[in-house]
Symmetry: C2
Subunit: 301 residues, 2 copies
């Protein structure tokens, strides 16, 4: 297990979870389990899910040791519970697990939005609220499901923790250490900051990519149009092949911040439309030049 300097040493060198329970053994949950196993940082992993087929597949793939039967019993002696289901299912899970959590059991999640998850936690975690540490691993893509899970998925990827005021330093550090054991780079934001940031750099681009393909998809000549699309179109629309259900939920969960970003972007397009209609080539060049300079300097971290 690599030692990361941004985590207190004792949390890394001595870090080991005896039992982890994962709800949702797809790409996010499955990769978390495989990464912990590879790091030798976990004893037993128990999986729950809505599809028995997926759970059986997860067991065959070595993602879980056991398929859970009794939620109350399994979460009671777990060190860590990961909610890796779609965000829309988390409130119900919180209701089911909260009464049965052991005193030392910590709960975290893998949701792409945080304001809604934190609100659900306050509503449904009851007196176990301090044991819930919200998190967002920035990984994934168009692929999903247990078969897509990889022990290496999180290596070098960012995980954002959005701790709440009830969380102890120790519990935050334990979640941090679990993600570090998976190879991730962990940072912290408030849930509100998180949702604003990801509305801008992730949720809006997804929306815009879906919108472009949808706009073309409705044309009578769409086959002709698409036959001339090339590598620029390919990259711009790669994320339009993402899960409609997942992105519907993300957009709804983060709709306030997303509407702000969409509004700002529509103003930007108004400016460009005006520049075109006024033949203002200088304005276009100014916009393109700043964009190119900033994009050229950006490197994925």
């Amino acid at each position: 297990m690599p030692v990361r300097l941004d985590v207190p040493y004792k949390f890394v060198s001595e870090f080991r979870l005896n039992k982890v329970v994962i709800f949702g053994v797809g790409l996010i949950g499955g990769s978390f389990s495989l990464a912990l196993r590879k790091a030798g940082a976990v004893g037993e992993v128990v999986g729950f899910g809505r599809s028995l087929t997926t759970l059986q597949q997860a067991k065959q793939l070595g993602i879980v040791d056991r398929i859970g039967q009794d939620v109350a019993a399994e979460v009671h002696d777990a060190d860590l519970v990961l909610l890796a289901t779609p965000v829309g299912q988390m409130a119900e899970l919180m209701v089911r697990i909260a009464p049965h959590l052991g005193a030392h059991t910590l709960v975290t999640d893998g949701g792409s939005t945080k304001g809604d998850v934190v609100a659900a936690a306050y509503a449904y975690m009851g007196d176990k609220i301090a044991q819930f540490i919200p998190a967002h691993p920035i990984a994934g893509g168009e692929k999903s499901g247990a078969a897509a899970a990889l022990a290496e998925l999180y290596i070098g990827k960012k995980v954002v923790l959005t701790p709440i005021k009830e969380n102890s330093i120790e519990s935050i550090n334990l979640i941090r250490a679990a993600w570090v054991a998976c190879g991730a780079v962990v940072s912290e934001l408030t849930a509100e900051q998180h949702d604003e940031v990801f509305a801008a750099v992730s949720h809006l681009p997804h929306l815009l990519s879906f919108a472009l393909v949808h706009d073309l998809a409705q044309r009578q000549n769409r086959d002709q149009l698409l036959s001339f699309a090339a590598s620029g179109f390919r990259d711009f629309t790669r994320i339009a092949a993402s899960s409609p259900e997942m992105w519907r939920d993300i957009c709804m969960a983060n709709r306030s911040a997303l509407m702000d970003e969409l509004g700002s972007y529509m103003q930007e397009l108004e400016t460009i439309h005006t520049a075109l209609s006024e033949c203002d080539a200088g304005k276009l060049q100014e916009i393109f030049s700043l964009a190119r300079a900033v994009r050229g300097n950006w490197t994925q971290q």
Copy 2:
């Protein structure tokens, strides 16, 4: 040289150009020359350009045999003249070359827009108008310049010819055969169709990508925002690193069709904004699902 069935056999099997003159020995012009050479389809290549340094580099790289000195003399006995400069410089070149073209000399171009190039040809090619066959090789990217030129650039790539009514079948087929010799797949559209198609699948996506990065670039917290951007952002904004000058010219040259596309897209965003503000999750899912289905079925040809 591979034989393509979409070109009459005699134009491929016997195809050889004795002399080609290229204005602009960058990515497009340089790769055309290297590809023809590799196919054994050209005798001599003469290059013209605005930068002596670039021309000398092109000579060192084996792109041209000679750096041209006298435009009139060089184009007079050429089989083919390629205008591979930015579109904004083509009108001036047409004025310079038209009076000196030999009776058998054909002229083509590599511009990304066609309506403006055809208009320039009608204005400046005079009684040589039939000798100008407009074309658009769909290749390139963020890289440019002679050093980026590749003999393999056009293999499997589309080249769109937009012939005018004055062109003879023979002259169109010769240009077609030259591009086939480079490995390209050649198709035909009218200039108007071309500009509408590429406004939709290329020019608009570039505009939208530039606009997103520009929108974020103006924020006080842009460094924080960009530090959390991941692979979705990376691919969506790859084309925002393209040349501002080139895309300014393309947008201005094709502004009518591009404004139509931008208007249609802004309506699409209005629809999505309304769905968000009305919490209409079903509408979002409908949009995302159609987009995913169409994007999922699309493969680059």
